[in-house]
């Protein structure tokens, strides 16, 4: 009996085990057949992490390969709000360190989200300081920050990039597609301690952005900025800009605007300070446009340098208007008309020439059209259609009124006179290269057309030399070099109508040295005060830039020659 009893117990236990096994089998089948996909995904999500490997944005160099824009490491601070215990205290500490509003931080770390940015792209020092506090729930993410080691130098050329490293202004914007690169990715396996481990090489490496080599020369840019700064402050100008160009290629060597901004902190500066006026703004050039009229007259063989023109003793009637000179002149030669900047003399030249031909030459000199420079927001300027001119336009257009030009267009036009009559399209990028120094794109001088003959350009050169030696541009004279140029003092258009009598553009265009020009310089100062003449305000800026830059170029050449000689020996 007891055996029978124990046998029945054995069967019951066996039955229970078999039932349990059966339940397990059903459960396992259920997990493996119906839940397998979901659970595999969950496991993979827990173990595998996918990292985006950001591409390094390209570096921007000057023509001598000095870096103007680089990338450096920075740390972005974020919070996991549920992990922070004393939120009020943390907000208090962080508001002091990050210089942010306490309420803002408190709102961020009190949210129910899993992730909240607190501040991005902190410096190494600040990140270290916060890390040392060992606050629970605060984490850092490594990011690249765009940095400009020269601060404000060439800021309008370089522009700046936003927090996500996307270009917003200047070269950073216009060449974003070259600079940006393509991000890659990497897979890691994560263990229970959240340490990541790379088990196999399944990465797709990021494709770094291309580097850009500009035509800008850091030293000439600095010389130009220094010289313009002095005039900008001295004459309390509203704004000012300078373009320095190589007349034989159209390469922009320096491009300066005032007021300026620091691309490391662009948010601290106004829109006005960030505006690239040399390229984006146009203005009535005033007397500097007389060079175009004079070139047209000589090219068309209507006048010779010695031809006499009667300047009506300072008052000349055109249609129903009377045109004035600042100083009454009687008989002047053609050269003297330009050198003394007689409005009446130039108008008389223009009357013989006709507006049609002036318009034609203005277009040939590059006015009224885009130059194609690789900077954003370039203006065409203003060159009205011929049929929209009035009867008085013949006394306005030849002396630089009723036309709008940009400083860059003026520089290209001046280059035509300096280089013997050829129009070169201006450019600011020399080369785009990858990290292995392979050229991706190369920019070369582009001679677009012949504007005037070599002979005409030489004749105009001599007249412009006279402007500096005997005319209105005496303050541009140098003891060491011979410079040629033309002054301009243009009244600004009054928004109420007509021209302002208190607001002017003081301009100087010129090239240096006169015999074999190496630099073309255009200086434009907007609303200088108290003095407002181009010959007083802008000519000394031209002189300083030209003298210093030529010395720098010559010194560089001497060093190069010495190096070559040493190599030969």
């Amino acid at each position: 009996m007891p055996l029978k009893k124990s046998l029945s117990r054995f069967y019951i236990i066996c039955f229970l085990f078999i039932t349990l096994l059966f339940v397990f089998i059903i459960r396992l089948t259920f997990i493996h057949v119906f839940h397998s996909q979901y659970l595999t995904k969950l496991a993979l999500k827990q173990h595998n992490i996918y990292f985006e490997l950001p591409a390094q944005r390209g570096i921007v160099y000057d023509r001598k390969l000095k870096p103007l824009v680089v990338n450096i490491r920075s740390y972005s601070l974020f919070a996991v709000p549920i992990e922070i215990e004393d939120k009020n205290k943390v907000a208090d500490i962080l508001s002091n360190l990050l210089e942010l509003d306490k309420e803002f931080i408190l709102k961020r770390i009190s949210s129910k989200k899993q992730f909240a940015w607190l501040k991005r792209k902190l410096s190494d020092r600040l990140a270290k300081e916060i890390r040392e506090l060992k606050i629970e729930g605060l984490f850092f993410m490594k990011e690249n920050r765009r940095s400009y080691p020269n601060g404000t130098l060439a800021s309008h050329v370089l522009g700046f990039a936003d927090i996500d490293n996307i270009g917003l202004e200047g070269i950073e914007f216009s060449c974003n597609k070259y600079l940006q690169g393509k991000p890659g990715y990497a897979f890691f396996v994560r263990d229970a301690h959240q340490s990541s481990l790379k088990l196999e090489n399944s990465d797709k490496l990021p494709l770094d952005g291309y580097d850009i080599i500009l035509t800008i020369d850091q030293a000439i840019q600095y010389i130009t900025e220094n010289a313009l700064d002095k005039a900008f402050r001295k004459y309390n100008a509203k704004s000012a800009c300078v373009v320095v160009m190589d007349p034989w290629s159209g390469e922009v060597l320096a491009l300066v605007n005032r007021p300026t901004f620091d691309p490391n902190n662009p948010q601290n500066f106004s829109f006005k300070a960030r505006r690239n006026r040399t390229v984006c703004d146009f203005f009535e050039p005033g007397s500097v446009f007389k060079v175009i009229t004079a070139s047209a007259a000589l090219e068309e063989k209507i006048f010779k340098e010695d031809d006499k023109i009667f300047c009506e003793e300072g008052a000349y009637k055109i249609a129903n208007h009377i045109l004035h000179d600042h100083r009454p002149h009687g008989w002047l030669t053609f050269s003297e008309v330009v050198q003394k900047s007689s409005n009446i003399g130039v108008t008389k030249i223009a009357q013989k020439l006709g507006l049609e031909r002036i318009q034609k030459y203005a277009k040939l000199f590059g006015f009224g059209s885009l130059s194609g420079i690789e900077l954003p927001g370039e203006t065409r300027g203003l060159l009205k259609p011929l049929n929209s001119y009035s009867k008085t336009s013949i006394g306005a257009v030849p002396i630089g009124q009723e036309v709008g030009v940009s400083a860059l267009q003026l520089a290209s036009a001046t280059s035509v006179i300096a280089n013997g009559g050829l129009y070169f399209s201006p450019y600011i990028i020399r080369r785009i290269k990858d990290k292995h120094n392979e050229t991706i794109k190369e920019f070369r001088p582009r001679c677009i057309r012949r504007v005037v003959s070599f002979e005409t350009s030489q004749r105009i050169k001599k007249i412009l030399l006279g402007v500096v030696e005997n005319g209105t541009g005496k303050l541009a004279q140098s003891k060491e070099y011979k410079f040629a140029g033309k002054t301009g003092t243009a009244q600004k258009v009054d928004p109420k109508g007509g021209y302002s009598h208190s607001k002017f553009f003081a301009t100087f265009i010129g090239f240096a040295p006169e015999e074999n020009p190496r630099l073309v310089i255009v200086v434009v100062v907007d609303e200088p005060y108290p003095s407002y003449y181009g010959g007083v305000v802008s000519a000394p800026v031209f002189k300083e830039i030209a003298e210093e830059s030529l010395k720098y170029i010559e010194a560089g050449e001497r060093v190069n020659n010495l190096t070559k000689l040493t190599k030969i020996r």
Binding site: L197, K198, L323, Y499
Partner: protein, 128 residues
């Protein structure tokens, strides 16, 4: 006494299994070491970038000019602690127009006086 074959086979299997586990552990350990070294290498490269950036900043023309001026003048840059502010911080706003300038530049008497005293130059002038 002869050891049964099945035990020997089992033992060999266990040894191989243990060796496999040992290898896997070593691979994982090595993986961690490699990751650590790679991170360190990356960090050093980034430190190098920061140091280079500092050099570029020091070599920038503005900095060089400042140091050249200091060398030539035997002056030194003041530390913030050496500066005493006697007035509230003044930030000149270059963009803001000078009120005085505006008033004077609109004043016809001032314009007339300025024209009278300032030397004249032949430049473009409006057609009247």
């Amino acid at each position: 006494m002869k050891t049964p074959k099945i035990i020997i086979i089992n033992l060999i299997c266990v040894v191989f299994a243990l060796f496999h586990v040992f290898l896997q552990t070593e691979i994982t350990k090595l993986g961690y070491q490699i990751k650590k070294n790679e991170d360190r290498f990356q960090e050093l490269i980034e430190d190098n970038h920061i140091l280079k950036y500092n050099v570029y900043t020091l070599e920038s023309p503005y900095s060089l000019n400042k140091y050249a001026l200091l060398d030539n003048s035997n002056l030194r840059i003041l530390r913030p602690a050496q500066v005493f502010g006697l007035y509230p911080e003044f930030k000149p706003n270059l963009l803001k127009e000078d009120k005085n300038k505006n008033f004077l530049s609109k004043n016809p008497v001032f314009i007339a006086l300025r024209r009278f005293f300032t030397g004249k130059q032949a430049e473009a002038k409006t057609i009247k």
